[in-house]
Symmetry: C2
Subunit: 86 residues, 2 copies
């Protein structure tokens, strides 16, 4: 593996796993009033494009982390709809 | 510009600008209880590594959007500290 790919893997580790404590926090607080729906939707669309970019340029770091991000953004969006009104 | 770069520019447009409505929402609500501090910190560290990755591989889309993201993550972190207790 090229050393540049390691930078991407570390970057992806932090940006992707950053969503885990955020998702956990919403489910724990049972509240998602402060979370912006536009943030959720834009993040989902953006992450999908980044994954296409990774596939197009064969960048493993970009592909792997964005695939995981899509799942996490889905959980965030689910929490937003589930807890928005409470 | 290569067509692959366009995918990255679109992806970056959405993931980066997604933070704008989130930052605006916190400042408008004057509340940042639901925002996870770990989310903030991990996002800042991750985005910094992605920028290094973009510089190392000379990927304009990666460099530009992550530079803007660093500023927005800073605003989010500032809101978290400013409004956390209220």
């Amino acid at each position: 593996m090229e050393w540049q790919e390691i930078l991407g893997l570390v970057g992806g580790f932090f940006t992707t796993t950053s969503l885990i404590p955020q998702v956990v926090r919403l489910y724990r607080l049972k509240s998602a009033r402060e979370i912006s729906l536009t943030f959720n939707i834009f993040l989902g669309v953006g992450v999908s494009f980044w994954m296409a970019y990774g596939i197009a340029l064969s960048l493993p770091a970009v592909i792997i982390w964005n695939a995981i991000s899509i799942v996490l953004v889905g959980s965030l969006l689910f929490a937003k709809f589930k807890y928005n009104k409470q």
